[in-house]
């Protein structure tokens, strides 16, 4: 394991500090560096807040800025942020119009955000949207739900745009809850990752193996399979996704190929090419595309594919101007 780091203890903090300095025109640390928030808050809008463990950069701090998140909290590596961080983010960004918390469906994230919400409830109007876009896990556990993975980016983009346009808290929650049935992701890893604290890989793969159905915390996935040609891998992921989501004839979609940290752009585009062909063969019109390294698992070599079936209004929210470190258009 060779990483650009100084000590495991300071790694996440040093990285976030570099992030804030690199983007200081539009983000700033909250008090005691408990969160990263928009430098210029827009008064009158619902505050949109997210957070999670470190090791998934650029998510979520890379989505802080105009048209997306108002604040993001970063925990230790692969460890949910604490309620004190989340409360701090709420206090710094709530302009009196309420806060929407976007939470990935991990027990740790859910519990910490929930405790923060209980502790801050008296002083703030708070609603929560849980993102649970991962495909594999529903088959495994019984009813404890899917993980929140790369689809989180889509939810945060759409809700961020809607909030920027003045949508009130409850409408935002409804919009967010309505998305969950229409966003699905599935990932594959070519290697396990090394958690800096322990200097050990979370799982080890042989030269001819891959791990299918992985999440973003370095945890092993649904099954270990022989490594295969890219088209075969992409085909398997896409087939599983399409089999799990109700595709109406004439469906319009966003197709998102996400790198897990150690996979270069060229390979992601190659995978996108196959995914796009697959989806179009299914009669799904790919109206928007995103290819890049956005939701990572440290330096994991691998990728995930996300399909989001979107309405015309939601596609407009996707197109709405955004000005963050990781997503930027106008």
């Amino acid at each position: 394991m060779k990483k650009f780091m100084n000590t495991a203890e300071t790694m996440a903090a040093e990285s976030v500090e570099g992030f804030v300095r690199a983007h200081e025109t539009f983000v700033v640390f909250g008090a005691d560096k408990r969160c990263v928030r928009r430098r210029h808050l827009l008064p009158g809008k619902v505050a949109v807040i997210s957070g999670g463990g470190a090791g998934h950069e650029p998510m979520h701090i890379g989505f802080v800025g105009q048209g997306m998140l108002d604040a993001a909290c970063v925990g230790h590596v692969f460890t949910s942020p604490t309620p004190s961080q989340i409360i701090s983010a709420i206090e710094e960004t709530d302009s009196g119009n309420g806060c929407l918390l976007i939470v990935k469906n991990y027990d740790g994230d859910i519990m910490n955000f929930e405790m923060a919400m209980e502790m801050a409830a008296g002083r703030h109007d708070i609603a929560t949207v849980i993102v649970a876009d991962d495909i594999e896990t529903a088959r495994v556990g019984e009813g404890h739900g899917r993980r929140g993975v790369a689809g989180t980016l889509v939810v945060e983009k759409l809700l961020g745009a809607a909030a920027e346009q003045g949508m009130p808290l409850q409408a935002l929650k409804q919009l967010g809850d309505g998305l969950s049935a229409r966003i699905r992701s599935m990932g594959v890893a070519l290697n396990g990752v090394t958690v800096p604290h322990t200097q050990r890989t979370t799982f080890a793969l042989g030269a001819g193996e891959m791990e299918v159905g992985i999440g973003i915390h370095g945890e092993p996935g649904h099954s270990r399979q022989p490594f295969a040609a890219s088209d075969a891998i992409v085909h398997q992921l896409c087939e599983t996704i399409v089999g799990d989501i109700a595709v109406q004839p004439g469906a319009k979609a966003l197709l998102f190929v996400n790198g897990l940290g150690g996979t270069p752009p060229a390979e992601l585009y190659l995978a996108y090419n196959a995914a796009r062909r697959f989806m179009e063969k299914q009669g799904i019109a790919i109206e928007r595309s995103l290819v890049g390294t956005y939701v990572t698992s440290l330096d994991m070599q691998g990728l995930s594919i996300t399909l989001a079936l979107l309405t015309a209004e939601e596609l407009q929210l996707w197109d709405f101007p955004v000005m963050t470190a990781a997503l930027r258009w106008s």
Partner: protein, 204 residues
Amino acid sequence: MQMEPMLIAGLIEVCRATIAANSDHLCALDRAIGDGDHGTNMRRGCEAVSAEEANLSSLPLPDAVEKIGLTLVMNIGGAAGPLYGTLLMEMGRELRTQEAGGAFPIILKRAIDAVARRGRATAGDKTLLDVLYPVQDALAHRSRLSDIARRAELSANDTAPMKAMRGRAAYLGDRSIGHVDPGASSCALLTVAICRYLEENRPE
């Protein structure tokens, strides 16, 4: 069971030392069916509590226990923070309402139930609850300290054949079978350490 400031300080230290000594082991357990950080998480929490020790000793027992829970919550994060935090915060609150002593098994039961609610989990889900409930049961049956400790250890081992239904390990489905749950293990380690300490420093 009459707690004194000295005892609180001793227990804090004994818990911190136990976790520190077993941090790598807990991470290894978590690597097998989770994300490999449980030892690190617990150590961070225990160190934060130790750092607060001077303030804690000056508080009444219920406040001290609740404060320990809050300190855990606000410093650990992950799943362990809210779980261990809720356990102690609820225990502190229960201690405060049930001023009369002697009902500790009931207090503990209520605190454990709060943990279960927090985690939307039940016994058998392969979590720290699978140590907490048996320990509470032993306590309710007035078992000796050494038997409580033994029960905790056995219960942790009993999580190995279970299929995880909560926490990250649940994502593995059947592949979680055959591994001891890290949270159950940390809970057993702490129980054993606390029992041994109480044994040695029995306030009689």
